[in-house]
Symmetry: C2
Subunit: 271 residues, 2 copies
């Protein structure tokens, strides 16, 4: 029993910036009748290279903004927050359930691996936190996890260098170590990375299953809403309600890159 929410309450999703839109897209695809409210902390993005203290403070601000809209559940679309500040979010949410991309991605990867060797790529903070490896080991101690921070993937995705020779070179450099570790599963541990999925797939080579945390979290969300009997009855699909802390010049372009549709109205909030 969750207090003060109904099946028509929105699903709240937040991220350090616009990367979490890949999660919005996946949730919309899985659950087209749900209302989605999204907060992107575009004024303070990126969280990835920052310290844990700062990331925890920002997570606390972010969840406070979403809670004003009385969501029926919260998705932490930011891998960095999922890794370093999930408890901060859970505490602020009370009995509202919280799903982090990280745990959802880890679960799907554990199900997928056949040879018990999983690769994880993400931002500096996510990888240094070792949170994916811990989450995976908690599910199955036998699994070996090979991790690699890929700091340039976010700016390359945002610059739209999807298929650029430089992106291929950088992917080759970042992924060469993991490639040699005989993994059979690779977790995209950053919400920007699905934008570069093709070049990552080509570089890592055939026969390796790619786990997109955005898809994983959408599956978990559907399951949880079904179990809690909080699925929204069929209503017309609508654009997400977008909140951002800054509205940069490139926002509309980036929205199209991530969502494949025109930017709806956006609300500016102060952090």
């Amino acid at each position: 029993m969750i207090h003060n929410v109904s099946s028509d309450s929105p699903i709240g999703i937040f991220d350090s910036g616009i990367g979490g839109l890949t999660v919005v897209k996946a949730v919309q695809a899985a659950l087209p009748s749900e209302r989605i409210i999204y907060f992107g902390d575009t004024a303070r993005v990126p969280y990835g290279p920052k310290s844990q203290v700062t990331i925890r403070k920002y997570a606390s601000d972010d969840i406070a903004i979403l809670m004003r809209y009385k969501p029926k559940m919260i998705i932490v679309a930011c891998n960095t927050v999922s890794a370093l500040a999930l408890d901060v979010v859970e505490k602020a949410c009370g009995d509202i359930p919280v799903i982090g991309v990280l745990k959802a991605g880890a679960e799907l990867a554990v199900k997928a691996t056949k040879n018990n060797r999983i690769g994880v790529i993400g931002t500096q903070a996510t990888i240094s936190s070792n949170a994916y490896a811990s989450a995976i080991k908690l599910l199955n101690q036998e699994i070996e996890v090979v991790s690699k921070a890929c700091p340039l993937f976010v700016p390359l995705a945002e610059e739209g260098f999807i298929d650029h020779p430089a992106t291929k070179l950088i992917a080759k450099e970042y992924l060469s170590e993991i490639r040699q570790q005989a993994i059979d599963t690779l977790v995209l541990g950053c919400t920007h990375y699905p934008i570069l999925r093709r070049v990552i797939e080509e570089t890592i080579g055939e026969g390796i299953r790619i786990i997109d945390s955005a898809e994983a979290v959408a599956l978990r969300t559907k399951q949880l809403m079904t179990e809690s009997k909080l699925l929204n009855p069929a209503r017309k699909a609508s654009a997400p309600h977008l909140l951002v802390s800054d509205l940069p010049q490139k926002f509309s372009l980036l929205y199209q890159l991530f969502m494949g549709s025109e930017l709806p109205d956006v609300e500016l909030v102060e952090v």
Copy 2:
């Protein structure tokens, strides 16, 4: 006459992050006896892709932090702030003189050009603001300015991809348009870019004078301190007093990359 300052007062320098350390290094080289206090807003870096409203708010916070230390002058080492919020800083400084990297770089470029064609590269916000072109035209209307935003140069520099083939490819792509415009002078309109100076020089080709805004602002500072009779009499050179709003894991590594010396004590301040 500047109130409440002496020749022993510090020179205050601030930037959105660590890029301004190239300015610290240039000022130390030109004026080894000066005390330097540096604030880097590492919790909210980068400013470049953000909106003017947000950049002006951040600039106001940044200068408030430095003013507590009663500086004898302020250097705005951030091109983005110099372009979009210099008036905010000047207002907060009262009769304390303010030098922005942008104006100093523009002045040196105007002196350097022989054919009146200047190229400028910088972040998205700096280039979109057209502030370099305006500053140059104010000095000499005849000069043609060709500008190009190079958003990947900052993350490439911070990743230490100084001499990487991917950096060369990206530099080639960014600089090819400007190369064709018969410029004889190129302004590095972002404090990170001196880190990539060699690849930029190689890509832009021979016979083009590179203007490093950090060096330009150091020259102006020396001139101004001499004119105001505020030069610090010979004292032993010392490490800058460092203030940051976040202390990320890579900070020490980046400090070495920018300064070529070991990280001194750092003070964490809240923004």
